[in-house]
C-alpha cells in the first residue's frame, strides 16, 4: 500500500517539521528541495500525494504544479499546497494550477496530519485516520 508522500520545500526546518509529523503518523516521506528535483522524484516514486511549497527557488510552485499535472500517472496524487498564504489571488492561482487544496503556514502541528489526510484519496486516508 502506497504511503509515500512527496514534500517539495526549500526551507530545511519546514521540511524537517513536516517530515517529523508525517513520519510519526506512519507515512513514508520523500523530500525534494526544488521544483525540478521534486518532479523527478514524483515520477520516480509515484507518491500518494505531493506537498508543495509555493515559494520555491528557480521554478515556482505554480509552474511545478502545472508540470506535475501534465503527467497522467501522477493525476491521482493530489497536490496540496503548503504556503504562507499572503495575497488574495494566490489561492485561486494555486488551485487553478492544479492543487487540490492548500494548507496555510505556519502549520498547526496538532491538526496538520489530519488536514493532509483529508486531501488523500479516501481508502488510504481511512487507514491513517487518527
Amino acid at each position: 500500500m502506497n504511503n509515500r508522500l512527496l514534500i517539495i520545500e526549500d526551507n530545511e526546518q519546514n521540511m524537517y517539521l513536516m517530515r517529523f509529523l508525517l513520519e510519526k503518523s506512519g507515512f513514508t516521506v520523500i523530500g525534494a528541495e526544488n521544483g525540478k528535483k521534486g518532479i523527478e522524484m514524483a515520477l520516480q516514486c509515484k507518491p500518494l500525494a505531493i506537498l508543495l511549497d509555493i515559494q520555491l527557488p528557480e521554478m515556482n510552485g505554480y509552474e511545478v504544479a502545472a508540470e506535475l499535472k501534465k503527467h497522467r500517472d501522477l493525476d491521482e496524487a493530489p497536490i496540496i499546497a503548503v504556503t504562507s498564504y499572503a495575497m488574495v489571488g494566490d489561492r485561486e492561482q494555486i488551485l487553478a494550477a492544479g492543487a487540490t487544496g492548500y494548507i496555510e503556514k505556519p502549520i498547526n502541528p496538532e491538526t496538520f496530519v489530519a488536514e493532509i489526510i483529508e486531501y488523500l484519496p479516501i481508502k488510504q486516508g481511512a487507514d491513517h485516520a487518527a
Binding site: 517539521l17 509529523l21 504562507s84
Partner: protein, 1151 residues
Amino acid sequence: MNNPDIKPGSFSSSIAILAVAVAYAVLAKASFLLTIPPGNITPIFPAAGLALAAVVILGPKALMGVWIGSFLANTLFFLDGSTSPVQSGPINVLIGALIGVGAALGAAAGAFFIRRFCKDEHPLQSGKNVLLLIVVGAFGCGMISPTFGVLSLIWGGILPWERFGYSWVTWWVGDAVGTLVVAPLVLAWQHRHAFRTHLWSRAEAVVLGSATLLACFFIFFRNIPCGYGLLPLILWAAFRFGMCGASTIGAIIALLATIGASRGSSPFVGATTNQSLLFLNSFLGVTITSALFMAGMMEERKQAAERMFKLNRSLRAISECNQALIHASDEMALLNRICRLVTEIGGYRLAWVGFAEHDEHKSVKPVAQAGFEDGCLEALQTTWADTGRGQGPIGATIRTGQPRVVHDISANPDGAPGSAEAFKRGAVSSLVLPLKTAGRVLGVLNIYSEKSDDFDPEETNLLIALADDLTYGVVALRTRGQQGQAETALRESEERLRLLGDNLPDSYVYQCTQEANGTSRFLCLSAGVEKLHGLKVDDVLRDATLLRSQIAPDLLPALQAAEAASLSNLTDFTMELRMQSADGQWRWIQVCSRPRRSSAGQVVWDGVATDITARKQADEARQAMEQRLAESEREYRELVMLANSIILRWAPDGRITFLNEFGQRFFGYTAEEICGRHIVGALVPENETDGRDLRSLIQKISDDPQKFERNINENMRRTGERVWIDWTNKVVADAEGQIKEILSIGSDITERKQAEEQVRRLNQDLRRHAETLEQRVAERTSELAAINDEQRAIFESAGTGIVLLRNRVIVRSNRKLEEIAGYEPGELAGKSTRIWYPDEASFQAGREMVYARLATGETLRREQQMARKDGTLYWVRLSLRAFDPNDPLKGAVGIVEDITDEREAAENLRQALEAAQAADRIKSAFLATMSHELRTPLNSIIGFTGILIQGLAGPLNPEQHKQMSMVQKSSRHLLALINDVLDISKIEAGQLNLARAPFELTPSIEKMVKLITPLAEQKGIGVEMDIAPEVGAIVSDQRRLEQVIMNLLGNAIKFTEKGRVRVACRLENDHYLLSFADTGIGMKPEEIPGLFQPFHQIDSGLTRKHEGTGLGLSICKKIIDLMGGSIDVASQWGQGSVFTVRLPRQPGETV
C-alpha cells in the same frame, strides 16, 4: 470313373459277362494246345489280354466272366485226363477255381491300376499310359495269375516244387505277352475314332496287311532271316494307323509267329518247343512293346497335332469371323459369312443362325446358314417355347442363355428337329451357342461337327467367345445401321441446307461470332459471298477481315458501335454497308442478323446479307428527286414568306389586281373585296395627313414607275387608320414592253415614322430647357460668390489651423496653420503635404492610412508628429474629412491643433502614474515578502513546540511541558499579531483584495462554531446556532468572512464567563444579518465608539486575561466595509453584547 469313351449300358451286363466268359474260354482252350506238361502252363495266353481289356472296358462285372471262363477252361482241361496227370475230379475243380481266381485277380489288379493312373484318358492315348499298360498291366499284374496258378497246381500235386520257377516264368511270359498282344488290340479297336475312310487309306491298309502277311510268311514259315523287315512294317503301322494299326499288325505278327514257332519254323528256335516259344515271346514282347510305345507316342503326337490343328482351325475361324465382324456392313451378309467361315475354316460340317422371335409361337427364325439347302431350316419350324418341340438344345439355350453340347446326335437323333436334319447331312455332334447381349438372348448359333465329341471344353470356350463377338458385332451393326440411317438423314438435310444457302439470289447466309479479343469470325458462310464479294468461302472462313476490309472505312465506327450494342443487348443487328468487292465494284449490302447464346455461352449471330445496290440506287434517285422537290417548295415558301411584306399588283389605271395575304390582313380586306378597286380610296387616302396630294402621286407613279422605284407614302387601312408604308415599285411589262402591271412591295414603317416624330418633339423641348438652364446658372453663380466670401472670413479667423487639400496638395491654409507650422503667409499654398511630414517614411505610411480612412466617409482623428519649417517636430491633433468619400483625393478639409503642451502634461502625468504604480507594487511585494518571511520562522516555532508538547519527540516532564506550553501560547500570539498587522497594513495600503465567489453561508458558520466549541466547553459556555432556513449562498470572500465570524465568536466567548453564546443568521432585504449574542460582561456605552479603532482594548481588570492583538475588530470592520456591509454593536454592561453584521447577498459594482 466316368470315362466317356466307355459306354456303359451298351450291352446288358449278363450278356457282357457271358461274352467275356465264352471268349476267354475259347482263347484259353486254344492256348492250351501249346501247354507245357504237366499242367496248363502255356507261353501263349491271349486270354489274359482279353481279360484285362474286358475289365478295363466293362468294369468289375467282367471279372465274373473272366473267372467263369478261366474256371471252365482250366477245369475242362484238367478233367480231360489225357492231358493232365491228375486223377481225381474235385481237385481239378478246385484247381480250376483257384486258377480262375488268380486270373480274375490279375485282370482286376491290372485294370484297377490302369484306370487309376490313366484317369480320364484312354489307356492307349499317350506314351505314358501305354508304358503303364505294359509295365503295370502286363508285366506287373501279370504276375498275380501265374503265382496263383502255379501254386494251386503245386498244391494240387500236378506240379512239383522244382518246376515252380520255370513254370512261373512260362506262365508269366505267356500272360504278359498275351496281354501285350490282345489288350491293346481290343482297347484300340474299341476306341477307334471315326476314320476318314479314304479310299487311299483303305488301300494303304490293305497293302500294309499284305506286306505284313508276306513278311511273316517269309520269316516265320520259310525261315528267311529277314526279321528286321518287321520293323519298318511296325513303324508304318504305328505312324500311319496309330494304335489300331500297331496293335493289329502286332497281333498278326504274334499269331503268325506263334503258329510258325509251334511248327518249328520260327527264327527263334530253342532246345525245346517251350524254349522256342519263350524266345519268340520275348521277341514279341519287345517288338510289341516298342510298337505300342511308338504308337502311343504317335498317338500322343497325333492327338496333340490334332488338338493344335483343331485349335488352329478354330482360332483361324474366329479370326476370320472377327475380321468379318469388323468389316461387316450388312447384318445378314455377316451372319451368312460367319456360318460359312465356321464350316469352311472351322472345319465343321454345318452351321446356322436363328433369331429368337417374340411372336406367339416363339419361333426361331433361321437367318443364316451354311451347309443346308434353302428353305430346309425354315421348314423345321424350330421353336424355343417351353413345350415339347422346344425341349431341344436350341430351346434350352435360348431360355437359359447357356450353351448346349450334344456329343452324339446318333444317340438321340430325334431329340431336336434341327439335329435330325443335321444328322441326315452327316452331323454327329452339335454345339448350340446363345447370342446374348445385355442379358437378352437374340438367338442361337448352331454348329454341327462330323466327328463325335468334337466340342471339348477348350474349343467350346473359343466358340462361345466367337458367339459373343458375333453378337456384339450384330448389335454394333444394328446400332451403326441406325446411326448410319441417322447420318444419312443428317447428310441429306445438310445438303439441302447448303443448297438452300448457296442458291439464294443476291444473298448469302452466314453465321458469325466474336472472339474474346473482339475480332469477328465466320462460322458458316454460303456460296453467295463469292458472287457478291468476289471472295472464296474458305478464305473468308479462315480470315474474316477479308470481308470486313471491303467495308467503306467511314462506316466502321458505326458498324462497331452497332455490333457492340447488338452484342451487349442481344438485339437484332441490321445495317446497310457500302462495300467494295474484290473486283473493285462498290455495292450496298444490307446485313441483317440476330444474335443468340450458343451452348458454350458464346454469342453467335445468324444472319443474311443481301445486295441492295440496285435498291439503294433507286432510293438515291428518289431521294434526289425529293430533295429537288423540297427545294423548289422551299423557294416557293420563301417567296410566300416574303409575304411578310405587302405584295400588291395594280394596273396602270390604278385598279388593284392582286394583294397578297399579308397585305390583305394588314389592310383588312379580303381578296374579293380589294381586287378591282382603285388604290386611291381603298389603300391610299386622297391626302396625306400632312396634306400631300396622294391621288396625283399615284398617278405619277403609274405613269413612270421607274422614277418611283422607292417611295414612302401614307396609306390607309380599311378602318381608316393611317399607316406609313415604304414601297418598292417595279414594272411588269408584257411581251411588247408595255407596262402591264405595277408590282409594289411594301413594308410597314409606321412605327419608325412615329419614332421620328417623337425625336423631333424632344429636340424642341430640349432647346427650351437649355434656355431656362442658362438663366438659372447665372443666378447660382452670384450666390456662390457670396458664400465664398463668407467662407474666407471664417477660414482666416479660426483659432485652429484649417487646411484644404486636393490631391495631396495644400490648396489653402489659414493663417493659424501657417503659424503653427512656422511658415510665412502664403508659403504653404500649393505645396504637397509632404512638407509636413518629418520624413519620407512617415509621409508614405501616413498617406495610405489617411486616404483609406477618408474613403470610409469618417472623420479621421489622429494625433501625429509633424515637422515645422525649421525642422523641429511638434505634435498635432488632426481631424480630416473628405468632401466626397468616393473620391477622397478630390478634396478634404483638415483641422490642425497644436497639442505639444497637452502632450507634455500627459506625459508627466503618465510618468507620475507609473511611479505611483511602481511604488504600489513595491509595497505589495514588500507585504507579500514580509508576510512570507515573518511566517516562515513561526512555522518552525509553532510546529516544533507543538511536536514537543504532543510528546511526539519523546516524553516531557511536567515542568518542561509547562514551559513548552508557555512558549506555544506566546508563539501563537505572535502569529496572530503578525497576521493582524499584515492585514491592517494591507487594508491601509488598500492592498486587501477581497475574493468574490459564491459559497454557502451556513456551512461556514457551522465550521467556525465547531472550531470554537472546544474553547467554549472548556469555559463551560454553550454555543447556540440559529440559522434561518432561507439562508443560502452569499457572494463574498469566504476566508475573510470566516475570519470575521471567528473573531466575533471568539470575542463573544472570551468575554463570557458563564451562560451562552448565540449565533443567528437570517435573510432580510437581500442582506444577510449575522448576530453574535453573548451573556458576557458587556460594555459601557462610552467604550462603543472606539470599539472598531485599531489597537483598542477594553480597559478592564479582565484585560490581561483576554489575549488579543487589539486589531481584531478594526480589521473586521474594515473587511465588512469592503464587502459592502456594516457592523453594529449593542451592549449592556454586565448583561452581554450583541454584534450584528449586515452583508449584501451579492456585492454591488462599487466593491
